[in-house]
Symmetry: D2
Subunit: 315 residues, 4 copies
């Protein structure tokens, strides 16, 4: 990631602010506020605003349950209870806003999370930066044979080089032709003073999906956790997981108690179906179990055994 002079200046200006407020603050998050955390080759995330902290969740829960929450004496106990029992609204009382730079094909996955507020850089109005995502060779994997949406083995050096050459060559060529059609370079220089450029809203269609875009993305803590649960998961595509992992780090600085509960109950936890429960119960009693008559499919059986690390029972 390389920031432009303007961006460096903007971040410095933002970070040099010292304002007084009666609102609650999250001191650990304040330390990294506005800072660009590099992701992939040209991307970044920056926390640019936030509202509330762990105590805001507790405050909301206590207004709901009134004296009913007195028994749960500590804030930590209450937050863990809320997380365990899927209470949702108290976690909506915290809000965070990120500035994110990311490749378009990842932006397309990301935007499917609808309960967020977004302002994206518009290529109808302005020229996109000349930056494309080119994966590090260790992330260039073959199509998985067993999983239609997964990755298999890493490509060997020669194949990886060939892929990168194609990606790089095509991205550069299409970007150059984008400039030609616009009659304008990425830095605003006009190419031919005696000619006119194609409308930006049309020329952009020539760009490849690994071109970087950027947006402001704002959401509440509940929906952020829903996003992270899916996108920091090992089944998520590596490129979006890279963003999700960095965001998890910011959540830890922002609402540390909620973060611990989230990791324990959501990220590290597992779900067991009613049929799966019967198998687990038998195993705990030392009874014999078998997929026959379990009502489980082979795939389901294996998912259950993997969840509890029973590798010798995989079939």
């Amino acid at each position: 990631m390389k920031l432009s002079k303007d961006q460096i200046k903007e971040i410095q200006d933002q970070q040099s602010q010292i304002n007084k407020t009666k609102r609650v603050t999250a001191p650990k998050l304040e330390e990294i506020l506005y800072e660009a955390i590099p992701i992939l080759d040209h991307g970044f995330i920056r926390v640019v605003d936030y509202m509330g902290d762990d105590t805001s969740i507790v405050q909301s829960a206590r207004v709901s349950y009134g004296k009913g929450t007195k028994k749960v004496s500590t804030d930590e106990g209450l937050i863990k209870y809320l997380m365990r029992h899927w209470h949702s609204t108290p976690f909506e009382m915290c809000e965070i806003k990120y500035h994110i730079k990311l490749p378009i094909f990842i932006a397309r996955q990301w935007i499917r999370h609808r309960t967020a507020n977004v302002n994206e850089y518009s290529a109808r109005y302005s020229i996109l930066d000349k930056e494309f995502y080119l994966p590090h060779p260790k992330h260039l994997a073959a199509q998985s044979q067993s999983n239609r949406q997964g990755r298999g083995d890493i490509l060997d050096e020669e194949k990886a080089k060939k892929v990168l050459d194609l990606l790089k060559g095509d991205a550069e060529q299409t970007y150059n032709n984008y400039e030609t059609m616009l009659n304008e370079r990425y830095d605003g220089t006009v190419i031919d003073e005696n000619s006119v450029g194609l409308a930006r809203e049309l020329a952009r269609m020539n760009l490849t999906l690994n071109t970087y875009t950027q947006w402001y993305w704002k959401t509440d803590l509940l929906n952020l956790m829903n996003f992270l649960r899916l996108r920091a998961d090992q089944h998520a595509q590596y490129e979006i997981r890279a963003y999700a992992d960095a965001m998890l780090g910011t959540v830890k600085k922002w609402v540390p108690i909620t973060y611990e509960a989230f990791m324990d109950y959501r990220v590290g936890g597992t779900e067991v179906s009613s049929k799966g429960k019967i198998i687990i119960q038998k195993l705990m009693k030392g009874e014999k179990v078998s997929i026959d008559n379990s009502g489980l499919s082979k795939r389901e059986w294996n998912e259950l055994m993997e969840a509890f690390d029973l590798k010798d029972r995989l079939i």
Copy 2:
């Protein structure tokens, strides 16, 4: 409105905070942060948290439109442009959280605005306060004869007194019986040590709809304006308008430029249908107009004439 000792202490504690932050702040709003603004006889609103200010809207718009916004040189010009053209997402970048005390029948109207986060005091867990809304006599109006959902003339003194006696008597009696069923007073005193009380989740059904409840209500600026446009309108029920009017005051302190644009384009503006436009155009040309062949119903005609203050053309 009378605050309890605990509430006064809580507000004082909240207001005495002086935290440092790198976030933007809204100084005028900070001045009234946490303060309980009285509404109706026992209600209030308090701003308890916020995120962003006018510059946050501008910042988001500028990331969207990039260099495209340079022509609109001032923040004010840009915000007015966004409001006029119904741009929505930049206004979603600001968030505000209120603590509100309000009668249940108003809460039922309010909650129909779905794009907000809410934690309400739960009468399943805790006993509701012994407070009911009793309208001031000047708000006790007869059913309108012309408008099925409106109010007509103010009741005369004698009728108003009778209504207030009924409202007060019924609210007190049902609350007393609520306590009897709970075997517990509003202040936690047990009535009969040798008896048990009905479950709170059941006993609450005996309360009248003018009983006060309270909640934390958090929303973004766009949805807040949608709420205020409907609820600060003269057609809204007086009781919810009283809340909306007070909230408009907080918006003015929070995002003054947006507030001005909102009052000009939304609150004070009007809409004209394609058929209505033809009438207006004729009037501007000094041509004769009539409801015949206009395609307008009588009701529509009158709404149009009223919108432009053409009272002599009402039919």
Copy 3:
């Protein structure tokens, strides 16, 4: 539940329709379309429209995953897979609309599910029916001592009678005074021709929370399942559970494959935290376990043991 003549006529008219359509239909659901299923003493639910069936879910999933879904050969296998892995969007492709009559205090719980479309009978415009919820004595329970929001033992006969007398007396009195203030009876009769009534939007505040209201409520299958998972749960208040249980029955008729998957993975399933997983793994290996050093609270420990029916390990 007693339907008015008008309602009976309306249902008969609706049920006598025989229209031709190229849309998919759900024959079992068609059989009970428009039928009023009684709930509580005066409430009901009626399915009044729907869109899609199990095949609509499959169709959407197959467009998403393209040839990727060919391996899962059957519709049932695919729906189970989608449910197990929390895929959400395919289930949003089905939509259902209910007409529901329910007590106001239950409507207030219900409306907190925001992702639904609602049109409620408006007491600003019209007079509410003279019907109140009076619980059957077997549902009149004392406040639970262990659970702040739960019910404990059933009240004895004498206490139950006293409670019912209070509920009935107050509901009738407040309704009578509502009529008095309106100067109009529930059936539209004017009480005193020479007087005027209080505006309906005001008079309604005198009603108790067990008064019945009604609404059209429309939602997609995903959000319906989220609703049912919470409200058909044993921890939900009995009165809303009664509605949720009847709705489960309609889901079974509408999308039978999805219903089975939902019951297995969501309703009958359980979640295990990362700390809980370690305990379960030890139990399966026959190792000793104890709450000490488990990181679990007493409450959490007991919830885990109960989920797997290990009653002798409760502490």
Copy 4:
């Protein structure tokens, strides 16, 4: 647009269904159900399911307003009233589902309308079709000089040819390299049996933004109208307007009364700010008006004059 054999077969199968239902139907819409309406060079829209019709809106409004709606005697009068006064929830009672094929850069605009349900063809799982959007020369316009997001004059023949050559060449080359990286052709043929292909979730990043994708898109009538109001507007990008215009045609067949009201009050109507209202009022009285002291900016002034077709007053 050219449909594949499989698609033609699927549409024929769907259209040959004749099911009986007690639900309301929209006969005009049934006639075109499932039919692929061509848009742009390779795109289409198809209505694949729907729920409700004009009477469903009326039914919901009448449950809300009860006897209050009796005065508005006709369905048409009621729907017009609801539209004029921005009533929203009755229009949410109708739902429609489309199958849409569209270029990715248009899909990226479209998806910003969040209140819809979407299942998109996934390029993580499957290979995208070899189809790219190449504009008709009459739509190849230069960047507007006055409007940062608009189009100006049509390119001359020579320039248009050059642009199309670039677009076509780049789309084909990047698609060919996509196949090379996948080691698989668009039709599933393996290129080199002894080699492995790059994971699909990676290879897709090489495609250009004019590649076609497809999705099922379901929304309610209210949100559909919000979409159409923005996207069938003359300021919308031509390519999305082409879809919106075709969808308007389906709305007309589905809910003809609502369609008329929508065209009159929303599409053909205009808004006037409080400052603009003063100017209009003066014009109607034959008074002199000028931008000075009007509080309007030049841009605002011109927008107002254009709205009322007062071209000689443009400045």
